[in-house]
Amino acid sequence: MTATMDRPDAMASGSGFPTVASRVRDWADKLPDQVAMREKDYGVWQEYTWSRLWDLVVDAAHGLLALGVDEGDVVSIHSEDRPEWIILDLATVAIRGITTGLYPTNPMAEVIYLVNDSGAKLHLAEDQEQVDKVLDAGADAFPTVTRILYVEPRGVRSYDDERLMYWNDFMEVGRQHRAAHPGEIDRRMAEATPEDVITLVYTSGTTGPPKGAMLTNSNSAFAIDNIVMNGERIRGGAPGPHDLILTYLPLCHVAERIFSTWHMAGAGTVLNFAESIETVQVNLREIQPTLFFAVPRIWEKIHATALIKLQDATPIKRVFGRIGMWLANTVGKERIANGGNHSTKSRIAYAIGNPLFFRPLKERIGLRRCRWAGTGAAAIAPEVLEFFMGLGVPVYELYGMTENSAVATINFDGRVKLGTVGEPYPGIGFRIDEETGEIQTKHPGVFAGYWNKPDKTAETFTPDGWLMTGDVGEWVDGTHVKIVDRIKHIIITSGGKNISPSEIENSLKASPYVKEAMVIGDGRKFITALIGIELDTVGNWALRNKIPYTTYRDLSEKPEVIELIQKVVNETNEKFARVEQIKKFRMIPKELDHEDGELTATQKLKRSAMKDMFEELVEGMY
C-alpha cells in the first residue's frame, strides 16, 4: 500500500501547520521513488525510498495510537542513529506527540532521570545494552512507561517483561490499526498547530541536572526557513534532494536533529546512517557527502590523522605531501584574508594543488564532493579551519543553542571571518548585553520553555523577553560575533583579573597531541592546567621516537611526553598576557569518559566533577 492511497482527498497536504512529518509526506508525494535514506547493513547500503519511508512512518504512527500513545504524550528514544529513530520521531510528531532522545552513552542513573523527568509513556531501547539499563533499574523505576520497544532482538528475546515489544511486532500492530482506522493519521496531522511541542531536547547539564527544552512546530519551521533553506550560506544554493548527508552525531542533540531530520524534512536531502561513531571516517569515504557537519573534535581528528599519515608516507609521497601542504597553506591564508573567496594567487595555487594533492586527499578523507561543511558546539582551532579552507572544503563556523533552535549566527559563504562564529541571521533579534557582554536572542525560534520547570524558564529570559544564552560574546568589525566563553566559566584570579579559560584551552587543544585541557585558576594566585593527551597521535609520536609504553597512563607519564606537552604549553603561553599564562600543568592519568562522569554526553568537560576527581593533582600545583 502506498502512502497516498489511504488519504482522503479532502485531507490533502496544506491543511494543518507544516510539521516535520507533513513535510516528509510532501516529499513522498513529490519524489515517491527517490532515495530518502540509506543504512549500512550486512555490508551494503540498504536504501529507503520516500514512499517507503512515509509508509513506515504511518505504520509506526498507527502503532503508537494502538499502544495508547496520544497527542501530548512523550516518547523517549534511546538508540544510536538509525532509520527507526527517524521513523519513530516522525510518527510521534504525526500524532502530535513529543519525542525526546537519550544519548546511547547515558548510564542507567541518567536514563532513570531523563525518562522520568520527561514522563515518557513509550520508551525505545535499541538493543540489549539499552534494555538492560531500563530493566535493571527495577520494576517500578519508570512509573509512566507502559511499553518498551527494542529494535535489535539479540539477547532480548529471552527477557521476560510484559512491557517489552519487538519493533517488527510494533509495526505489525500499527498495520492492523491502520487497516482498521484509515486516514486517522492525516486527520491528526491536519490538526497540528504552531504551538504543538514536538520534542524535548535535554541540555547537556555541565552544571546541574539536565533540563528538557521544549521545541515547537513553529520553532522547527523557523529553523528550517532560516538555517536549512538559507541559500546564502552555501555556494551553489540551498540544499535539495540531490544532497547527501552522513548522519552520525547523536540525533538527540539539537545540532544533528537540525542537520539530519530537519534538513531531510525541509530540503529533502538524503540521510545516510553511519554504522557507528568509530566507522565515521570509513563511511565518509563511501558516502562522500555533499553537506557535512561535525563538531571540532572530529575536524581536529581528521586533520591530525591526515598530518600523521602524510608523515608516515613513503619518501616521494612525503615530498609531494610537503609541497601540497605548502600550497594548501597558501590557498588557506589567501582565502581567509578574502573572507573565504579566492584571489588570483590562491586560484593559481589551487589549480596546481588540486589534481596533485587536494583532490586525492579529499577523496581519502571523504570530503571530495562536499559543498558545505559546518562546525559548531565548541570552539575550533583556526589552523584546522585554514587547512580545510586550503583544501577547498570551506568549513563554516556557526553558533546557536538548543533554546533558540540553534538560530543565532553563522559564517556566510564569502563573508567568513576566522575566529568568529559569523553574523546573526538577517532579521532575527540578536543583541549583546552592554553590561555583561552576554549574547541574547529574540525570534520565533526561541523555545517554549523548560519541560515542567517554569521557574528555570523564567530565569533564562530577561524582563523584556529576550533569551539569555549564557555565552559572553563580542562584536568583531561590527558585523561578526566572537564567542568569549560561558559566563559561568570566566575565571577571576585572586588578583582580581578576569580570564576566559576556553581561549587558553582551545589554544592548547589546537596541538594534535592534546585531547583535553582544563584551565584552573578561580580564586588562585596563578593559572594552571590539567592536560590529557590524544592517545593516537602521541602513541604514534612515541613509536617514531622509539619510546616504549604500555597504557594510556604510562604514556602520559613518560618524561619525554611531558616535555612534548611542555612545548605545547610554552607555545600557548607566548600568545597570552603574563597573568593568563599557564605556570604549571599536570597530566590527566586516564582517558576521560561519559560513563565515569568526567564528560557530558556531548563530550564537554564537567568542570566541577573534574575538580573533585583530580583534586590531589590540582592542589599539588598550588
Partner: protein, 410 residues
C-alpha cells in the same frame, strides 16, 4: 553508485567484475586490440598478422584455459596438484577418439568439435571426481605426490592403450580443427585453411586464433565468475583453513570434489584443443614438465587471481619466443657490428672459440636458447616465490595501490 565508487547499495553492485567505467573502457579496448591481432591494421608493426606469432598466441590461449583450471584447484581451493598434464591428456585422447577418423589401429568416431570439446571436459571431470577423495585424506606436499603419481599412471596407460593413443612411436591424429554442424557436413568454420570470412581474406592461423580467443574469453569470464559465487567462496574458505571452513558450514568433501571436477573440466578442454591445434601430439607431452609449466604460470602470474593467470600465461608462453627473438637480434648485431655489438658479443657465442653465455652454434660450452629458456623459467619461479608471492598480479596490485593511496601510504 556513480561518482561514488565505494558506495554500494546492493551486493550485485559490489560483486561486479568490472566495477568502474575506467575498467570497462580499458577492458573493451584490450579485447578490441586482441581481436585486431590477425589483421594488418597498422602496416608498420610486423607482429600483426604474422603467422608464427598467431601460432604462439593461439597456443597461449589454450594454455590459458588449462592454467585457469589449475588456478581454480590450486590457487582458489588450495589443493596443490601436479597431475594437471594427466587430465589434459585424458581430455585430449577423449577428443581424439570421438573426433578422429577411425583406422584399423585406432578408434575414431569423427564427431564434430562441439560434441568432442564438452565430452573431453566431462570425461576429465569424471576422472577428477574419482581422484578428489584422496585430496580429502591428504594435504599439501602429500597431495602433490599423489597427483604426481597420476602423471606416471597416465603415461603408462596412454603408452599401452594403443587403440586409443596410437602406437607410442607414431602417436595418432586428432580430427580436423574445424567447426562443423555434423560430421557429414562441410566445415562451417574451417580453422586450418586460408580463406575468406565475411569477405575478409584470413590466414588459417588467424581463424584459429580468433576461435581460441573467443573460447579463452568465455572460460576466463566463467572462472572469474566462479570465484564470486557461493562455490568459489567455499573453495577460498577451504584453502584458507579447511577445518575453519567446515565450522562455517562448508562441506569440505563437496568443495574439494567440485574443485577437482571443475579444474579437470578446464584441463580436459584445454588438452583437446591442444591436440586439435597441433594435429598430432607425442605421448611424452603429458609428462611432469607439462604439469610444472602450469604450476609456473599460476605462480608467476599470481595464484588465486584470474587476471594474474592471464598475465602469467602470456608471459610464460611468449617468453621463449622473446628470448629467441632477442638472441637473433643480438646475433645480427654481432655479425653486422651494430651499436650494441660489444654487449651482444659478450652474451652471444657465435663461433667455437668465442666466449658467450648463449651459444647459437651446435655443441659446445654456453647455453643453447632452449636451455636458457629453462634456466630463466626456473629462476623466475624461484624469484617470484621469494619476492612476490602474488606474482605479476601482485606487482600490478602494488603499483595500483601506490596510486590509490596517494597522497598517503596507508
Amino acid at each position: 553508485m556513480r561518482g561514488r565508487p565505494n558506495l554500494y547499495v546492493s551486493y550485485e553492485e559490489e560483486q561486479r567484475i568490472l566495477p568502474t567505467m575506467t575498467q570497462r573502457v580499458s577492458m573493451t579496448f584490450l579485447v578490441l586490440v586482441a581481436l585486431s591481432v590477425p589483421f594488418k591494421v597498422i602496416p608498420g608493426i610486423k607482429f600483426l598478422g604474422d603467422p608464427s606469432w598467431l601460432q604462439i598466441l593461439g597456443l597461449t590461449f589454450i594454455f590459458l584455459i588449462g592454467a585457469l583450471g589449475l588456478n581454480i584447484l590450486t590457487g582458489l581451493a588450495g589443493q596443490v596438484s601436479l597431475g594437471h598434464a594427466f587430465f589434459m591428456g585424458v581430455g585430449a585422447y577423449t577428443a581424439a577418439v570421438l573426433g578422429g577418423e577411425a583406422t584399423n589401429a585406432v578408434y575414431g568416431f569423427g564427431l564434430p568439435i562441439w560434441v568432442t570439446l564438452p565430452a573431453a571436459g566431462l570425461v576429465a571431470a569424471g576422472i577428477g571426481i574419482l581422484v578428489a577423495p584422496t585430496a580429502v585424506r591428504v594435504r599439501g606436499l602429500y597431495l602433490a605426490i599423489v597427483t604426481l603419481g597420476l602423471v606416471f599412471i597416465g603415461q603408462h596407460i596412454f603408452r599401452s592403450w594403443n587403440s586409443v593413443a596410437g602406437v607410442p612411436e607414431l602417436g595418432r591424429d586428432w580430427g580436423e580443427f574445424q567447426f562443423a554442424l555434423w560430421s557429414s557436413d562441410g566445415p562451417a568454420l574451417a580453422l586450418q585453411s586460408d580463406g575468406d570470412w565475411f569477405g575478409i581474406a584470413m590466414l588459417g592461423e588467424g581463424k584459429a586464433y580468433l576461435f581460441l580467443l573467443v573460447l579463452a574469453i568465455g572460460f576466463t569470464l566463467l572462472a572469474k565468475n566462479l570465484a564470486r559465487t557461493r562455490i568459489g567462496r567455499s573453495f577460498a574458505a577451504v584453502r584458507d583453513r579447511d577445518i575453519a571452513a567446515e565450522v562455517m558450514g562448508v562441506n569440505e568433501v563437496k568443495a574439494k570434489t567440485q574443485a577437482f571436477a571443475i579444474s579437470s573440466f578446464y584441463a580436459g578442454v584445454a588438452g583437446a584443443l591442444y591436440g586439435y591445434f597441433l594435429g598430432s601430439v607425442q605421448l611424452e607431452t603429458w609428462n611432469l614438465f607439462f604439469s610444472v609449466t602450469f604450476v609456473a604460470i599460476i605462480l608467476i602470474g599470481g595464484a588465486g587471481t584470474t587476471a594474474g593467470v592471464v598475465m602469467g600465461t602470456v608471459f610464460v608462453e611468449t617468453l621463449p619466443r622473446i628470448v629467441e627473438n632477442t638472441t637473433d637480434f643480438l646475433e645480427v648485431q654481432v655479425e653486422e657490428g651494430g651499436w650494441l655489438a660489444p654487449i651482444a658479443d659478450f652474451i652471444i657465442r657465435t663461433e667455437g672459440a668465442d666466449f658467450g653465455l648463449l651459444s647459437t652454434v651446435e655443441n659446445g660450452p654456453g647455453l643453447s636458447v632452449s636451455q636458457m629458456n629453462g634456466l630463466l623459467f626456473g629462476l623466475l619461479i624461484a624469484v617470484f616465490l621469494i619476492f612476490e608471492p602474488l606474482g605479476l598480479y601482485g606487482i600490478w596490485l602494488r603499483i595500483r595501490n601506490y596510486w590509490k593511496g596517494w597522497p598517503f601510504t596507508y
